[in-house]
């Protein structure tokens, strides 16, 4: 197992393997997303309470799940990069940050668009939305730190360390925001969680969740190929790769 991982982690291998896998994952993700959307928008019955507006959960909830999932993957990859000094793990961590930030932004936008019909205002200091907002700041922190430091290697390791510090703080922040929210609970705030899930709603939701995960992996593979290329610009394999494709 370790030998395979080590071989896969070597940039040239990764560059080729990722190039091969990415298109397949892309198509599977598209298929699942189409099925999920069809199931969610057409098949699923309207909710007895919220009518049709609840259909936003098919993008809101998967985005929220993904925003958290990507941060944990980023922190994990950063830990691997810092402890075992694997360049590929550092590239994966750094390239995941923008995708995670996009999912967090989507969770916030869809959350507030869903909040308007339900609570009458676009933004409510609901515990989960507030945690998402803070998570977005943490993402900007990682990306800001990476962009601020000139040397790519130092920048990658510093941003990775902040991702690890962030992942340790997320449960603390989430708990304190939940606690703070119950302290100042508005009288009629209904929970943002999905209404009691009927199977006809659950299936599309899961389909969308899986397709979002595949989307993340596909985009990550593309971005990581770019990162690996940039990182190894004066490495031998990059020279031979480029010389081969653009013959003099």
């Amino acid at each position: 197992m370790w030998a395979f991982l080590h071989r896969f982690a070597s940039p040239p291998h990764f560059y080729r393997r990722a190039g091969a896998i990415a298109p397949w994952l892309g198509w599977i993700c598209l298929g699942l997303m189409a099925a999920g959307l069809y199931g969610g928008l057409v098949v699923a019955p309207p909710d007895y309470q919220q009518g049709e507006s609840y259909r936003i959960i098919f993008v809101h909830v998967p985005s929220a799940w993904m925003s958290m999932f990507v941060y944990v993957v980023m922190a994990g990859a950063s830990a691997i990069a810092l402890i075992w000094r694997i360049k590929l793990a550092e590239v994966i961590a750094i390239e995941s940050a923008p995708v995670g930030a996009s999912f967090t932004f989507l969770a916030l936008v869809t959350g507030s668009l869903w909040g308007k019909p339900m609570w009458g205002t676009y933004w409510v200091w609901d515990a989960r939305l507030t945690s998402e907002l803070i998570l977005l700041f943490l993402y900007f922190g990682v990306m800001g730190l990476y962009a601020a430091i000139e040397d790519r290697r130092t920048a990658g390791r510093a941003a990775g360390l902040f991702a690890i510090v962030g992942v340790v703080n997320i449960p603390i922040i989430h708990y304190s925001v939940e606690w703070w929210h119950t302290l100042h609970q508005g009288p009629t705030v209904t929970k943002l969680s999905a209404p009691s899930i009927h199977v006809s709603m659950l299936v599309p939701l899961l389909l969308m969740a899986v397709s979002f995960k595949l989307f993340y992996v596909t985009v990550l593979l593309h971005r990581a190929r770019c990162g690996v290329l940039e990182r190894g610009r004066n490495a031998g394999w990059v020279r031979s790769l480029l010389a081969r494709t653009e013959p003099e």
Binding site: G26, S53, V59, V99, S102, F105, L242
Partner: protein, 62 residues
């Protein structure tokens, strides 16, 4: 319910058309950007590196 009526009803989303469709539009746009931008960046990086390589060969830097 004729075809067009059910279609119109589908897009009305029980009066919440604005919120539902706008959130789906935003999701589609952001996901599309996330998919397309790395492609462009990849092409640009390859072009820059290749060009850099060619420049290096031409003035045979040590």
């Amino acid at each position: 319910m004729t075809m067009t009526e059910s279609l119109v009803d589908f897009f009305r989303m029980g009066g919440y058309a604005f919120y539902v469709w706008w959130s789906y539009v935003v999701v589609t746009v952001v996901l599309a950007l996330n998919f397309v931008l790395p492609m462009l960046r990849h092409r640009r990086v390859r072009r820059d590196l290749a060009q850099e390589l060619r420049f290096a060969d031409r003035c045979d830097e040590p």
